[in-house]
C-alpha cells in the first residue's frame, strides 16, 4: 500500500549537502499501525513529509496505493493527499479563525463534496472524537487535548486510508496523550493505516511495528505483540530474524 524503495532526500546549501534520508526503504500494508522513532534530526519528519506528498525526494521510488507519485502533477498529488491521507501535527495546526466545524470541513471543501455530505461527515467525525457539542467553539476556547481531537476529527473526516501523525501527543500531558493514543488505536481498528512519528518509546510500543531511524536510515525494526501479525516486506524478515 505504501512502498518506499531506496528513497533519498538531500537538503543542499552552497557549501554542504545533508542527507535527511539515505536509501530508505519501507513497506506498510493496509491496516498497519507503524511507529517511527529516532533521535532529533534522524529524518522522522522528513519521512512523514515524503509519505504525505508534502515534499519531493531526490532518488528512489515511492508508490502509494500502486501509484508512482514521483511524476505526478501538483493537482494530482493534492488530490491524492486530500482523498487518501490525513495529517495530525504536534501543534494541532488548527486554523485559528475558523470554528471547530469549519476546521473539520477544510479537507472536505477541497474534495468538492455536497453541503449535506460535508455536514454528515463533520458530525460523524466530531462524534467519534467526543466533541460534537463543541462544533461552534473556536480553537482558542478548547484545551490542548480537545484541539488535538479536533485535528484528528479533521484528519479522519475525509475517510482517508492513511493517517500520518507527527508527535501527536508531544504538546499534551500524559492523561491527554493516553486519550489521544486510545483514539488513534480505535481509528486503526476501524481499518485506517497509521504512521506515527514519536520520540516516546512507550507510545511506540502501542504500535504494531516500530521503525527506528538514525541518520536517515533504518537502524532497527521491532514488532510488538499482540499486533505483530501485520508486518510487511523486509520489515517482517528482520523482525522475524530478531525474534
Amino acid at each position: 500500500m505504501l512502498k518506499m524503495h531506496d528513497v533519498s532526500k538531500i537538503y543542499r546549501t552552497d557549501l554542504i549537502e545533508t542527507y535527511a534520508l539515505r536509501k530508505f526503504s519501507l513497506a506498510v500494508t493496509a491496516g498497519e499501525f507503524v511507529a517511527v522513532t529516532g533521535p532529533s534530526g534522524s529524518g522522522k519528519t522528513t519521512f512523514l513529509n515524503l509519505a504525505g506528498l508534502l515534499e519531493d525526494f531526490d532518488a528512489g521510488s515511492y508508490e502509494l496505493d500502486g501509484t508512482d507519485v514521483r511524476n505526478l502533477s501538483d493537482d494530482a498529488r493534492s488530490r491524492l493527499r486530500n482523498e487518501r491521507i490525513g495529517f495530525i501535527f504536534q501543534s494541532f495546526n488548527l486554523i485559528p479563525d475558523l470554528n471547530v466545524a469549519d476546521n473539520v470541513e477544510v479537507p472536505l471543501r477541497y474534495r468538492r463534496l455536497s453541503s449535506a455530505n460535508r455536514r454528515e461527515r463533520i458530525s460523524s467525525a466530531l462524534e467519534l472524537v467526543g466533541l460534537a457539542s463543541r462544533a461552534r467553539h473556536m480553537p482558542a476556547q478548547l484545551s490542548g487535548g480537545q484541539q488535538q481531537r479536533v485535528a484528528i476529527a479533521r484528519a479522519i473526516a475525509g475517510d482517508p486510508a492513511f493517517l500520518l501523525a507527527d508527535e501527536p501527543t508531544g504538546n499534551l500531558d500524559s492523561l491527554m496523550a493516553r486519550q489521544v493514543m486510545d483514539l488513534l488505536e480505535q481509528i486503526n481498528e476501524m481499518g485506517t493505516t497509521i504512521l506515527l512519528v514519536t520520540h516516546d518509546p512507550e507510545l511506540a510500543r502501542r504500535a504494531q511495528r516500530n521503525v527506528h531511524l538514525v541518520d536517515g536510515q533504518i537502524s532497527d525494526f521491532r514488532a510488538y505483540e499482540p499486533r505483530s501479525a501485520v508486518l510487511a516486506d523486509g520489515a517482517s524478515s528482520v523482525a522475524a530474524a530478531r525474534a
Binding site: 508534502l54 486530500n82 495546526n93 485559528p96 477541497y110
Partner: protein, 444 residues
C-alpha cells in the same frame, strides 16, 4: 468554491483589519484620483455630438492678412466667417442643413417682469435646432420660411422660461426683445453640450444662450455680437452696413453633409468661391478653405490642452504607486498567514486552489477599494464643484459644470481599477501558493 473563498477573504479582513484597511485605502485613493482626472478629461475631450461626427462640419476660410496669419503657426484659418462669405455659402443647396449664427445681448421686457433683464441671445437660422438635435420641452423651432424675411418668433431655454414665465407652457406668449415684440414658439428642454462645440467663443464650457431668434433680425436691427469680432485690415467701418461688408470675422457657420459625395460637392463649392474671390482681389493668403468635423474642430481649437493629458498620466502614475504599495502589503499579509496556508496544502489544497483563494481575496479588496474610491471621487468632485461654483456665484457654465459623475467614465475607471488590482495581486497570490507546505507547517 468561489463562495467559500469569498468567506475566507472576509475572515482574512477580520484577521488583519488595519492592514486590510490600509490596502483598501491605497487602492481607493488611486482610483479616486484617476476617476476625478478622467471625469474632467472625458468631459473636456468629449465630443457631445459624436454620433454626427461624420456629418457635421464647420466652415472656415482664410481671408486673413497676407503678412500675418490669424494663428501664430499659420496652420489654421480663422475660426469664424465674414458676413459676406457666409451669406453666399448659405445660399447653397448642397448641405442637407446649414446654419450661420452669432451670439448677442438682448434686453427682455414685458412678460410680467418688474424690470428689464439682459439675456444672451443666439441669432441663428432655422436648421440650428435640427442640426444640433436640440431637445424641446414645448413647441418647436421656426421654419426656414421664418428666416427671411424674419418673423418675430423666439425660442427660450428652459431656465429662462422658468425665469420669465415661471416654467409654465409659454407658447404663444409675447415678450419684448430689444424693444421689439416676439412670440414664444418653443421652449428648450435641458440642453448643455460640453464643450459648447458650435461656438467656442467665451470659454469652451460656457452655458448655451438663453434665447434664440432668427438670424436676419440681427441684420435688420443692426445688432452687433457680444463675442469675438476680429478685423485685420484698415476698412471703413462707420455703419453696420460697412461692418457686414467688411473682412471682419464674427459668424459661426456649420453645415450638415450626410454623404461623402455631398462633402466633395461642398468642398468644390468652397474652392470655386475661393478662386472667384481671389480673382476679385480678396483672400491674399494661400488657399485654405475647410470643412472640419466636430472632433477635429475640438482638437484644432485646443479645447483639450496638454496639461490635462499630463494630469491623466500623473493620476495613473499615482495609481501605479498605490498598487505597488498594495503588492507589498498583500505579500506581507499573505506571507503572514503561511502556516494556515500550509495546513490547507497538507489537507489537499492544490497550488491552483491556494492561488484562486488569494486572488478572490485580492478581488474583494479591489471591489472595496473601488467602492471607497467612488465615494472619495464623488466627494472630491463635489468639493471642486463647490469651489468653482463659489467663485462664479451661481453662474452656469465653466468648470463647475464638468464636476459630475460621468457613468461611462466611472464604469471604465472601476473596471480598470479592478483589473489593475487583480494584476497587482497576481504575484503575491502566486508566490504564496508556491511556498513548500512542509516549511510553513514547521513554522506553526
Amino acid at each position: 468554491m468561489f463562495g467559500y473563498y469569498a468567506r475566507l477573504a472576509l475572515k482574512s479582513f477580520g484577521r488583519n483589519p488595519g492592514l486590510s484597511a490600509l490596502m483598501v485605502l491605497a487602492i481607493a485613493l488611486g482610483i479616486a484620483v484617476c476617476i476625478m482626472t478622467l471625469t474632467v478629461y472625458h468631459a473636456m475631450s468629449g465630443n457631445p455630438i459624436w454620433w454626427k461626427n461624420d456629418r457635421l462640419y464647420t466652415v472656415t476660410m482664410d481671408n486673413w492678412d497676407p503678412n500675418s496669419p490669424y494663428n501664430a503657426d499659420g496652420k489654421l484659418p480663422p475660426p469664424q466667417m465674414t458676413y459676406k462669405d457666409s451669406h453666399y455659402l448659405m445660399s447653397s443647396s448642397v448641405p442637407e442643413r446649414k446654419v450661420v449664427m452669432y451670439s448677442s445681448d438682448g434686453v427682455i421686457s414685458g412678460a410680467g417682469l418688474a424690470s428689464p433683464v439682459r439675456l444672451s441671445t443666439r441669432l441663428t437660422t432655422a436648421d440650428f435646432f435640427a442640426m444640433f438635435e436640440v431637445p424641446f420641452l414645448y413647441g418647436n423651432g421656426w421654419s426656414a420660411a421664418d428666416d427671411n424675411p424674419p418673423r418675430p418668433v423666439i425660442v427660450l431655454s428652459r431656465e429662462q422660461n422658468e425665469r420669465l414665465f415661471g416654467g409654465v407652457n409659454s407658447l404663444g406668449r409675447t415678450l419684448r426683445w430689444n424693444d421689439h415684440e416676439f412670440r414664444v414658439i418653443g421652449v428648450l428642454d435641458d440642453w448643455f453640450p460640453r464643450p459648447r462645440f458650435y461656438d467656442l467663443n467665451g470659454g469652451s464650457f460656457g452655458a448655451p444662450d438663453g434665447a434664440y431668434i432668427p438670424f436676419a433680425w440681427g441684420i435688420e436691427l443692426e445688432q452687433l455680437g457680444n463675442e469675438n469680432t476680429a478685423c485685420w485690415k484698415p476698412e471703413k467701418l462707420d455703419t453696420f452696413q460697412d461692418f457686414i461688408a467688411s473682412d471682419c470675422i464674427w459668424l459661426q457657420m456649420w453645415v450638415e453633409l450626410p454623404t461623402a459625395a455631398s462633402r466633395e460637392r461642398m468642398q468644390a463649392l468652397l474652392d470655386n468661391y475661393w478662386a472667384e474671390q481671389r480673382k476679385s482681389g480678396r483672400f491674399p493668403r494661400p488657399r485654405d478653405d475647410r470643412l472640419t468635423n466636430v472632433g477635429q474642430w475640438l482638437i484644432d481649437q485646443k479645447v483639450l490642452d496638454n496639461d490635462n493629458r499630463m494630469l491623466v498620466g500623473l493620476a495613473f502614475a499615482f495609481l501605479v504607486v498605490c498598487l505597488i504599495n498594495t503588492v507589498g502589503l498583500l505579500l506581507a499579509k499573505f506571507l503572514n498567514n503561511t502556516p494556515a496556508t500550509g495546513v490547507r496544502r497538507a489537507l489537499g489544497a492544490s497550488r491552483r486552489q491556494i492561488f484562486l483563494q488569494h486572488l478572490v481575496e485580492v478581488g474583494a479588496l479591489a471591489a472595496l477599494g473601488a467602492l471607497l474610491g467612488l465615494v472619495l471621487a464623488a466627494l472630491g468632485l463635489a468639493s471642486i464643484h463647490h469651489l468653482y461654483a463659489a467663485a462664479h456665484l451661481g453662474e452656469r457654465g465653466g468648470y463647475q459644470e464638468l464636476m459630475h459623475f460621468d457613468p461611462i467614465g466611472v464604469v471604465w475607471a472601476v473596471a480598470l481599477a479592478l483589473l489593475a488590482t487583480l494584476a497587482a495581486g497576481l504575484y503575491p497570490a502566486w508566490r504564496v501558493g508556491r511556498l513548500p507546505p512542509a516549511l510553513y507547517l514547521k513554522s506553526q
